[in-house]
Symmetry: C2
Subunit: 323 residues, 2 copies
């Protein structure tokens, strides 16, 4: 009898712990408390800060917030692989920058081409095919490519605590969106599977599209032009265009997310704004104010001034990647 | 006893009829049959044409498909009212076309300014304020303005059979979207209330936005420039940008919807494409191949060639507007 009581107590404890802690990979530090308190405030009936379900919009940056972004944005690894795959059909790339550097594996040379060179790489590898063809190319790449440092598939380098956060918010009636500087059509083929976020809840930088009939069948052809840059001021603009209402929670990791957090947390009522701060050189990477990728400088100051949450990956997260 | 049995039978009949007929304002003619058969095909488990809920996307044009569009697009009546409201602050409008004609109530003169003039009207009345301010202006107008012919609020001139269709599709797991040539920010303030369609499921023509801080508070300012024309080829492009997947059902009423229907019905599996044909001069308006507004010419031919449904408002709809 005594034994079975102990077993029962243990089961009960486990069940309670399971039910009570939707964020098991988060330490019980400030950011976790801020998240849980915010969710309780906006979902508890009778709460003065209750928010109807339809208005529970949460937006997440992707690179550096939901998955890693070092030593290069993962979409750039994709572009590099596409340049290699397309080299035979483009003999001119052997001598033309930034393609020549990419083909030689000279990352310094590629970087030397600057933003213009990066844009050329993206245009050359993200346009000229139909949107359906591009989705297949991305799906194939995501299913096979490996990160040069970790050797893991890129989609395994997503942050376990953020996956728990997405699930927790959705379980509380939130609609979760990605709002990323990355390409909208680069993300959509895999966000449902990896994050549980359907294509219509993915906002990103987008290129031109042309509708045409090919052999009597309509297709959408991707054009080598940028029609929306979903970064900095572009994030609130992308949110307004796609969602048409202001989020009540926003999550980012860099100055590119600052305006999204400003826009979100300057609305009335309960709001949650949070930066993921990359402080863990051991388990991930450590970078902030001086970084070329994912620079977090003004954002850190704004977080302090506005009382936004800042997650220290080293101190606030028990795990980084899923097991 | 006999009496109560009759009452019971009557109640039962009513309940059954209610349960069995989700489209009571539709006559039992071809279009209704096509709709019901399509919905059963894609929702019945085990059906070879079953479509998972997440992929049940249905897109609806607005002007002439969900609400009336004669004698002018309702958004133009809004623009005209805004020109009148702004005349005192714009003395130059007294002599400058198309504003001068609008202020004199000379619709012929306004029409003579052509597409360029209409664009000028829209830009002058839809830009220069913040998106929040514009939403309030639209809400106020929609709550008070009356149609010049019917004397009814514009939002009462929605089609009862289409309201039933929206509800029926949503009850069957569809996500219903508006995909309209009308302004995205002109529709969003009222589509939830009128159609049950939330702002994030409204796609339309959109103008530029500028993010700026005013007195330390971020705002989105509407710019006098068009960044997406959501008409003809622009509809599949708008769908791809906002939704990122192809609809399985599409509803329109004019050649401006032709590409949306082509795009939708050229996908694999069960598809439903339907044109609303304005054939009812008594209860609404009758127009098609020659009309300046809502011209349906190539669309009628395409519907015939592709076996798409065509609703004759006169023959297929029991009611036009809600009671």
């Amino acid at each position: 009898m005594k034994h079975s009581l102990i077993v029962f107590a243990a089961v009960l404890f486990t069940a309670q712990a399971h039910g009570a802690d939707p964020l098991p990979s988060w330490n019980a530090t400030g950011p976790k408390q801020a998240i849980v308190q915010f969710v309780e405030k906006v979902t508890r009936k009778g709460s003065p800060q209750f928010v109807p379900e339809a208005e529970r919009i949460a937006t997440f940056d992707n690179d550096g917030t939901l998955w890693a972004e070092q030593p290069l944005y993962f979409q750039l690894f994709f572009a590099i692989d596409r340049v290699k795959a397309g080299a035979a059909a483009h003999p001119e790339w052997k001598t033309q920058e930034p393609f020549a550097s990419v083909l030689k594996g000279d990352m310094q040379g590629m970087a030397a081409s600057g933003e213009k060179g990066i844009a050329q790489l993206i245009m050359a590898t993200h346009a000229g095919m139909t949107s359906d063809e591009f989705a297949k190319i991305v799906s194939d790449w995501v299913g096979t490519a490996k990160h040069p440092k970790s050797g893991k598939p890129f989609t395994s380098m997503v942050y376990q605590p953020m996956l728990e956060l997405l699930t927790y918010l959705r379980a509380n009636g939130f609609k979760t969106y990605i709002v990323s500087g990355g390409g909208i059509e680069f993300m959509r083929p895999w966000t449902q599977k990896v994050y549980g976020i359907p294509p219509e809840q993915v906002i990103g930088s987008s290129g031109g599209l042309k509708y045409e009939l090919r052999g009597g069948k309509p297709v959408l052809v991707k054009l080598p032009e940028l029609v929306h840059m979903d970064d900095k001021e572009g994030k609130p603009i992308g949110i307004q265009r796609h969602i048409g209402r202001r989020p009540i929670a926003a999550f980012g990791n860099s100055d590119g997310d600052l305006q999204m957090l400003e826009w979100t947390c300057s609305g009335e009522g309960a709001r949650l704004c949070l930066f993921v701060h990359h402080t863990d050189a051991g388990r991930e990477w450590a970078y902030d104010r001086q970084s070329h990728i994912g620079k977090l400088d003004k954002g850190l100051d704004a977080a302090k001034a506005n009382g936004w949450s800042v997650v220290s990956m080293k101190d606030d997260w028990k795990a980084i990647y899923p097991k």
